[in-house]
């Protein structure tokens, strides 16, 4: 039982680190793209307002929620391995 708890705790920490890094990276990429778009289209909005609006849209987007699969995929993998090793 202790081994399961250890696996879950260590796994959660490692995956959280990956999740945070990936979130920050993805947001930075989106910000760069928005900035490029602003320079190209030259809208009436100021750059700050444009970035703010774009990132708020991003926060609601499916793409951002997909990063949660960092937690989901390993659980599925482990389940598949458990099935294949013990029951297949």
């Amino acid at each position: 039982m202790a081994a399961l708890v250890r696996l879950m705790v260590v796994g959660f920490i490692v995956l959280s680190v990956i999740y945070v890094c990936l979130s920050l990276y993805s947001r930075a990429v989106r910000k760069g793209k928005l900035r490029a778009q602003w320079h190209e289209e030259q809208p009436d909005q100021s750059l700050d307002a444009f970035l703010h609006e774009g990132l708020e849209d991003y926060d609601k987007s499916l793409r951002r929620k997909l990063i949660l699969s960092v937690y989901v995929i390993p659980v599925i993998l482990v389940s598949v391995v458990i099935y294949l090793t013990n029951f297949a």
């Binding site: 081994a3 250890r6 696996l7 391995v81 090793t85």
Partner: protein, 210 residues
């Protein structure tokens, strides 16, 4: 001298990596199971080559009964496998069906006179000096001693992903070094040679003029 150190370092690193994968990744042997047994083991040295205590019972007591599978391989030599849970710990096979596997292995026993061949998937090493045994993962009846072992797809995928990861890191490191570190080193070298010239020049001014 620095070259030798550098080579020693990288050869050690890569041998360790290779040994790690060779120990951990699954391999298949075609064998004939001659017998199965259970033995009291108290692994106090080389514990890393033994599994954790079974998942069910209290795991604090180190000494425990371990299942073994005795075989003769199709090549002719003998091989003894241990049969232990890996449970929730390393390596991540998540094997909990040790007793079932032992039952299957016992069922597949055969004699030299009327042999039945079995593909044993396992990981780990047999080493007589350390008394360590590879851990059997699954057994499967096959047609004969020359039966195909199947393409090791899982190993190909894992090693491919690992190679991609190493290559990715290596490329980025090279790019980083070329852009950031090499110019700095060159600047330091230039400064250094300027300074050396100045010092030599200063000493030169003390020398007797010719």
């Amino acid at each position: 001298m620095l070259g030798i150190l550098r080579w020693t370092f990288w050869i050690t690193v890569w041998l360790t990596v290779a040994a790690f994968f060779h120990y951990t990744l699954p391999q298949t042997d075609i064998v004939r199971i001659t017998d199965t047994y259970e033995s009291r083991e108290n692994p106090t040295s080389f514990t890393v080559f033994w599994g954790p205590a079974d998942v069910g019972p209290d795991g604090t007591e180190l000494a425990r009964d371990v299942f073994f599978i005795q075989t003769r391989r199709a090549k002719g030599d003998v091989m003894v496998y241990r049969n232990e849970d890996t449970g929730w710990s390393w390596p991540p096979y998540f094997k909990f069906d040790t007793s079932n596997l032992q039952a299957e292995a016992s069922d597949l026993r055969s004699t030299e006179a009327s042999p039945r061949f079995v593909a044993v998937k396992h990981y780990g090493w047999r080493n007589e000096f350390m008394s360590i045994f590879p851990n059997a993962i699954s057994v499967r009846l096959v047609d004969g001693p020359d039966a195909p072992k199947g393409i090791p797809l899982l190993n190909i995928i894992i090693l491919g992903l690992f190679a991609a990861l190493v290559y990715g890191i290596w490329v980025r490191w090279r790019r980083f070094r070329r852009a950031r570190i090499d110019p700095k080193l060159e600047a330091i070298e230039d400064d250094f040679s300027d300074a050396t010239d100045a010092v030599t020049g200063w000493f030169g001014s003390w020398r007797k003029k010719k």
